[in-house]
């Protein structure tokens, strides 16, 4: 009897210290996440007016007018949102496939592997924060590229494009492929973390599995589909979600830009919150759809 009591004491004691450890998070979550979330939801449903002088602001409840304004009145918001989602639908799979292939290559043994790895992880720095935004403004570079394109007599990709297009093979799919190829820099720069994650997964697969498969007569191609892919598939899910979030909140997103300018320079808090909520909804929806599809295909070893 007494023994049992003591054990439960230890349990409660551990529970208490567990709570002590996560206390900062709970406080932070409640005060800096939940309350702003609720408040911003309220703002999105009302007309926010700043009271000059005394401090504070008042909210007039106006229902879903702000959302209506975002969808039906504002000339750009709809288009920006759809553009963003369409871009995401192409970019995210491309980033995943690219980083997976690179991770496989970087996992093999070759001379100068450390150096090549260092370069591929460099985008973790280069693609962060303000640097991406500046990159996009770099009109000079694109101007230079145009000049170079014109000056070289034969543009290889252009010729290839012509040949492929004239072959009558699905024009639309080809266009997507060309888009990806043209944006390969953006994709490479966005996939630093993903490569690290995939690489960490690949390193946990024991080589004995491949050896056994080889003895059984598996080709490299087969062992890729039967061993590598299933073993790494949980990480595909992680990377997918990370990529989607990263894509939506990176600083060069046009929707984000519009939200912050509406908020900071126009002081239109209600409308900005409404747009932010629509955007957040879109992110959740994307994660749910893609995550739902992928999580069905994930293979868990244990």
């Amino acid at each position: 009897m007494e023994k049992k009591k003591k054990r439960s004491d230890l349990k409660t004691q551990k529970a208490i210290s567990g709570y002590l450890f996560i206390l900062p998070f709970i406080i932070g979550f409640l005060s800096f996440m939940v309350s702003p979330l609720i408040e911003s939801l309220r703002m999105s449903l009302s007309n926010v007016k700043i009271v000059a002088g005394s401090g504070g602001f008042i909210m007039e409840f106006i229902g879903i007018d702000n959302f209506k304004r975002a969808f039906f009145v504002d000339p750009e918001f709809n288009r920006m949102l759809v553009d963003e989602i369409r871009k995401m639908a192409v970019d995210v799979p491309a980033i995943l496939i690219f980083s997976f292939i690179i991770a496989i290559l970087l996992n093999q043994n070759f001379k100068g592997r450390g150096f090549v790895r260092a370069i591929f992880f460099l985008p973790v720095i280069l693609s962060s924060g303000v640097l991406v935004g500046l990159e996009y403004n770099n009109s000079l570079l694109s101007g230079m590229q145009e000049v170079i394109k014109k000056s070289s007599a034969v543009d290889l990709t252009e010729v290839l494009k012509q040949i492929l297009l004239s072959s009558g093979f699905g024009e639309r799919t080809l266009k997507v492929v060309f888009d990806i190829i043209n944006h390969v820099y953006d994709i490479a720069i966005a996939s630093g973390i993903q490569i690290i994650v995939f690489l960490s997964g690949l390193q946990t697969i024991s080589s004995s599995m491949y050896e056994a498969a080889k003895i059984e007569g598996c080709t490299v191609w087969e062992s890729f589909w039967k061993i590598t892919l299933p073993m790494v598939s949980p990480l595909i899910l992680v990377n997918l979600i990370y990529t989607i979030i990263d894509f939506f909140i990176k600083s060069d997103s046009k929707v984000m830009d519009k939200i912050s300018t509406t908020m900071i320079s126009k002081m239109d808090y209600g409308f900005a919150s409404a747009m932010a909520w629509v955007y957040f909804g879109a992110v959740i929806l994307m994660i749910a759809v893609f995550g739902g599809i992928v999580s069905r295909l994930v293979f868990y070893d244990d």
Partner: protein, 335 residues
């Protein structure tokens, strides 16, 4: 010399024989391997070049004079090598001051973030308590919510800061915390800073993989919960803490979102970078040259500024490259 060629010939003959015996398989497989290696080398070289190219391009731009921009024979190596760009950018953005500001802000913020994320991550990894799943779902929610969603109300929250209405009761006014670093530090202490959820997640993954026996041994030897944490677990978790710190540092260094929101009056590098072209045209106006800065020239200034801002990061990256990469792979991230 003779013997060498002879030997080689002998080897070749031997190889051919072996190849014959294997029915051509040996040659085929070796050829396939060699081609694969070649293709891989070309591919990797190309991609590495692709990633480095903009950086190199900026580097070469930053050493050029303006007339080199319009000289079609100059592609990447400047003809009129100059350091004037660096001097000018330094003057425009007050580089050393901005660097110093960015440095202490990034250090303070990343340290706070990692310290509190470690506590929370440890709590999630090693203790069982009621509602644990719920709170962890909240961590995932924090990762997912774009900060822009709550930006507006956070902004106002700190503009008219008050603790449950107490301060207003006493002084009759709310505090404006807008232009100080306090709100941001508070945010980081509450684990709500830039990408903070991710750090909690990573650190939790790491602590989960530490064997339970280690902890139990510490308990048996008379360590309390907290001394186990500080004396046994923390030293063990050094690699992941270092890499989280590095990530936090780098991301804070280049972040413009939170610094725009909270650190309005501190001159940080990223903010100065985005305003560089405006500053340039102001400068040109002020010296009364009567000409506008050309697009090319201001781009040159931006490139120079970017190089100046990135160099400290690159140095850190080169020194601590292992910290960035290796420890992440030890966490065994899984969903």
């Amino acid at each position: 010399m003779m013997t060498k060629t002879k030997q080689r010939k002998k080897q070749w003959a031997k190889f051919l024989e072996r190849n014959k015996k294997s029915g051509g398989y040996l040659l085929k497989s070796i050829a396939a391997e060699k081609t694969y290696k070649l293709v891989r080398a070309v591919l990797l070289f190309g991609l590495c070049f692709l990633i480095l190219q903009p950086l190199l391009n900026k580097l070469s731009l930053s050493f050029m004079e303006e007339r080199d921009l319009y000289d079609p024979t100059v592609v990447s190596i400047p003809r009129h090598f100059t350091l004037a760009n660096y001097v000018l950018v330094n003057k425009l953005i007050g580089f050393w001051k901005a660097l110093f500001n960015t440095l202490w802000v990034a250090l303070l913020i990343s340290f706070t973030q990692v310290a509190f994320a470690t506590l929370v991550g440890y709590g999630f990894a090693r203790f069982n308590f009621p509602l644990k799943k719920f709170w962890f779902a909240c961590v995932l929610l924090v990762i997912v919510v774009p900060p822009q969603t709550i930006m507006s109300s956070l902004y106002l929250h700190f503009r008219y800061f008050d603790v449950l209405g107490i301060i207003k009761l006493i002084t009759g006014q709310t505090i404006n915390l807008q232009n100080s670093i306090i709100p941001y530090v508070l945010l980081c202490m509450g684990c709500m800073g830039l990408k903070n959820g991710l750090y909690i997640f990573l650190i939790r993954q790491y602590f989960r993989n530490i064997p339970k026996e280690l902890e139990e041994a510490a308990y048996v030897d008379g360590c309390g919960t907290f001394s186990t944490f500080f004396r046994i677990m923390l030293p063990d978790a050094k690699p992941i803490l270092v890499s989280c710190f590095l990530f936090a540092f780098v991301w804070q260094w280049t972040d413009s979102f939170y610094s725009k929101l909270f650190l309005g009056n501190i001159k940080l590098l990223p903010k100065m970078l985005t305003s560089i072209s405006g500053l340039l045209s102001d400068y040109i106006n002020s010296i009364g040259a009567g000409v506008k800065a050309t697009v090319g020239y201001s781009q040159m200034m931006i490139s120079t500024g970017m190089i100046m801002a990135i160099i400290p990061l690159i140095i850190i990256y080169i020194v601590a490259q292992k910290g960035f990469v290796e420890s992440l792979s030890r966490t065994g991230i899984k969903m």
